[in-house]
């Protein structure tokens, strides 16, 4: 009887070696897979009714440091959100252009100044007058281009939010499904580890969009909680909703309902709520509702300053008070009270533009002059040239007074400072993510360790097989009596 027990013990040993080899194979096959938790075979002596004989597999453990994983997810959420904003600032800085660079706003303003001075010296040269008008038109075009870029960014942000929300809903639903499957597998004694790997990679991707925290539940299920305590996945998945507002105008704001907020289970999420404090959705919302509109306002103030410098009868006596001078707004007669979005309408006054039926000599004689006047009368041109350097305040009267070039440089400095700030944060984030992911990866599959395990298993298998053949020989000896 003890021989048969010995036989069963040897068999259990063989069985364990075989399972161990399978685990090793799984591990080595997934050596390069992300979100893979190393499988570990746990064994214990087999106990059958208070006596032990042989070895039993007590389970397969999936090794994953939850704390480390949580930290890595948090770092990733922050890094990706910050990178998005950083890219925006970089784009704006490049679009503005550095002083002295061809095509930059600052350079265009300088060119207008020098063109007007040259025209003032030789105001009979139509070519010089046209050069000045061209320089002014370049500035207007540059400002319009920046306005359009901001508008496109807001539109893209809105589209991005819609896309990400849709993906998020699908992902949360998938995680809830996986939860069910894993629970079923665990309860029926199957192998849920593969499903757990899938679920982990999904949660990793979710954490790029919205900061989440994972809590372990019984039977292998998890609960996902957002930063403000809302439950995203428990037994069922939460549902986000968002309606897209295509191509928003500069004056469309989320406060007045022109753009929509994100809803969680039909409850509206306020702007600046902690649920979206990091991650792509939060960054896109901030971009659409906060960053881009603020920059838009600065641009609008700059455009208003540019227009009002040349408006009215101080420079050109043929103009009425507050009538547009060198720069005008398409579709308006004077500068409106609400300045939002005017940067997109700024243009050279059509009275000077020969392609729109205007005349270049009006730059010298006055917009509403009845005749070209004396060709060397440079009164108006001289005033135009000096108008650029007049110190004015942007927006409120408490703002410091600067020339037009000064205002443009100030705006560029703001953008540059923001860009440098996001760059610094980004390098910190990247370093943190790198460190955490390396530490996590250090707990991953080590092929050398697996192979040495395999050696041991091979040895164990040989030994058990030897035991089996010896027992077989012993049994035969007995049977041959």
């Amino acid at each position: 009887m003890s021989l048969s027990l010995a036989l069963s013990a040897a068999l259990s040993g063989l069985n364990l070696s075989a399972r161990g080899a399978r685990i090793v194979a799984d591990n080595i096959a997934n050596a390069q897979t992300e979100s893979y938790g190393v499988r570990l075979l746990t064994q214990a002596p087999r106990v059958l009714g208070d006596t032990g004989s042989g070895v039993a597999m007590t389970g397969v453990t999936r090794l994953m440091d939850r704390g480390l994983l949580g930290d890595l997810r948090q770092a990733t959420t922050q890094a990706i959100g910050d990178n998005l904003l950083g890219a925006f600032w970089q784009k704006m800085e490049t679009a503005f252009g550095l002083p002295g660079e061809d095509g930059s706003l600052g350079h265009s303003i300088s060119l207008l100044g020098t063109a007007l001075q040259r025209a003032s010296l030789q105001s009979d040269q139509t070519a010089l007058l046209q050069q000045s008008i061209q320089a002014a038109s370049d500035i207007a075009r540059k400002i319009r281009g920046l306005h359009d870029m901001l508008r496109a960014e807001r539109d893209r942000a809105d589209a991005g939010i819609a896309e990400n929300i849709e993906w998020l809903n699908t992902a949360l639903q998938d995680i809830a499904d996986l939860n069910h499957k894993i629970q079923r597998q665990t309860l029926t004694g199957g192998a849920p580890e593969g499903l757990m790997d899938l679920r982990q990679s999904l949660v990793d991707k979710v954490s790029q969009h919205i900061p989440v925290q994972e809590f372990a539940r019984e039977d292998g299920r998890i609960m996902l909680m957002a930063r403000d305590g809302s439950i995203l996945v428990d037994r069922d998945a939460a549902r986000f909703s968002f309606s897209r507002s295509p191509d928003p105008e500069a004056s469309d704001r989320v406060e007045d309902g022109a753009l929509s907020r994100v809803r969680l289970n039909d409850r509206e999420i306020e702007t600046g709520a902690s649920i979206f404090s990091d991650g792509t959705i939060g960054a896109l919302l901030r971009l659409r509702d906060d960053t881009a509109p603020a920059l838009q306002q600065d641009l609008d103030f700059l455009a208003a300053d540019l227009i009002s410098r040349f408006s009215g009868s101080d420079i050109d006596q043929s103009l009425d008070t507050n009538a547009f001078g060198l720069f005008s707004l398409e579709g308006y007669a004077t500068l409106p009270v609400a300045l939002t979005g005017i940067a997109g309408q700024i243009a050279v006054n059509p009275g000077f533009d020969s392609s729109k039926g205007g005349d270049a000599w009006r730059l010298r004689a006055g917009l509403n002059a009845t005749d070209p006047g004396d060709v060397l009368d440079n009164t108006v041109l001289d005033r135009l040239a000096r108008a650029l350097d007049l110190p004015t305040s942007l927006g409120t009267s408490l703002a410091p007074k600067r020339s037009l070039q000064g205002h443009a440089t100030e705006l560029l400095s703001d953008i540059a400072t923001q860009r440098l700030g996001t760059d610094k944060r980004s390098s910190f984030n990247t370093a943190r993510v790198a460190l955490l992911s390396e530490t996590l990866a250090a707990q991953g599959v080590d092929t050398d360790a697996e192979l040495s395990k395999l050696l041991v298993l091979e040895q164990a298998y040989n030994a058990n097989a030897r035991v089996l053949s010896t027992i077989d020989a012993m049994l035969r000896t007995i049977l041959e009596i």
Binding site: T409, A416, A442
Partner: protein
């Protein structure tokens, strides 16, 4: 538990990161070495671009001012040469008038009168000289002549003379005609007001191009010459004796006119000098600003070169280590 395992991915992640970082540093350093300027200018300036903007603007202005100063100097030189021409003609006529002190020959008197007439036409035509597209002495109406044709002016002058004419009053009447607010301004001067706005050449240097044919020196010169020129038109009650007397009396106004022209020339000369100074100052400013700009954005080439060397060495070592570690696999040894 003492870890007995170090994941395979650790090495690839870590080396990948180092590799990427070193390569991007390599790219930045090589660009900085070749251009001598920082690649990320904004970062180099610490986010404050106002110094850069101010320098670029000053550089642009200095370059422009040089051009403006050169054009202004050319215009002033043009004016100066016309004044010189007028001055020469006036002096010549003055000499001829003085010769009549001793000469009473009617032929000589006739010759002198003709010289006056020639000089008058010459001066009027000279004042209508164009520099490129603009008449220099026509003020704001630079696209047309400054003065009417000499004959037209004399006709207008003669029509304003009283009949009968008292020879001793001729000089006075002609001078009054050329004075401001009289017949000269309404019939002879075709130009406009002096050019209103001065040219700003930087650092407070402003140059006016306001001299027109209505300048007092020009008026006096034209008046003195016209007094003699008008005699060729057969005025009633004037014979050779009266002609001689009038011509002899005109030597004083002629000398005073020459003095006036000299003063005008001096004024133009001062303006020319200021234009020349402004031009050289703009050039100097431009040079020093270019140097300052380069220095603002410059990166020490020695430092870049040594960093570049360091980075290439580090990359070499990373490659060597990666190659070595890839060979260290238990699987190879278990064959």
């Amino acid at each position: 538990m003492i870890p007995t395992r170090l994941g395979d991915m650790t090495h690839s992640l870590s080396f990948g990161r180092h590799n990427a970082r070193l390569k991007s540093t390599l790219a930045t350093l090589s660009q900085e070495m070749t251009t001598g300027q920082a690649r990320d200018k904004v970062r180099h300036l610490g986010g404050n671009v106002s110094a850069l903007a101010a320098m670029e603007k000053s550089l642009e202005l200095a370059t422009d001012r040089k051009g403006l100063a050169q054009t202004t100097a050319a215009l002033l030189a043009g004016k100066q040469s016309i004044i010189l021409d007028i001055s020469n003609r006036t002096e010549q006529v003055t000499l001829e008038a003085m010769r009549l002190e001793l000469d009473t020959d009617p032929a000589a008197i006739k010759r002198t009168m003709d010289s006056f007439a020639d000089a008058f036409s010459g001066v009027v035509r000279s004042l209508n000289t164009r520099f490129g597209e603009r008449t220099l002495f026509a003020g704001t109406r630079g696209d047309g002549p400054a003065l009417a044709q000499p004959e037209v002016i004399l006709d207008a002058l003669i029509s304003g003379l009283p009949v009968p004419l008292d020879p001793s009053e001729l000089s006075g009447i002609v001078e009054a005609w050329f004075a401001p607010g009289s017949g000269f301004d309404s019939h002879a001067y075709l130009g406009g007001a002096p050019v209103p706005a001065p040219i700003d050449l930087g650092h407070g240097a402003e140059i006016n191009l306001t001299v027109t044919a209505q300048d007092n020196a020009v008026r006096k010169t034209l008046a003195a010459l016209a007094t003699g020129a008008v005699l060729t038109r057969e005025l009633s009650g004037l014979g050779p004796a009266e002609h001689r007397a009038i011509i002899r009396q005109s030597s004083l106004p002629l000398k005073s006119a020459s003095q006036g022209l000299l003063d005008l020339s001096a004024r133009l000369g001062v303006a020319e000098e200021r234009a020349a100074t402004a031009s050289s100052r703009a050039e100097a400013e431009r040079t020093s600003l270019s140097i300052a700009l380069t220095e603002l954005l410059a990166v020490d080439p020695y430092e870049s070169a040594s960093k570049l060397e360091q980075v290439t060495n580090q990359l070499d070592m990373i490659y060597a280590i990666t190659a070595r570690l890839s060979r260290l696999s238990l699987a190879d040894y278990l064959r």
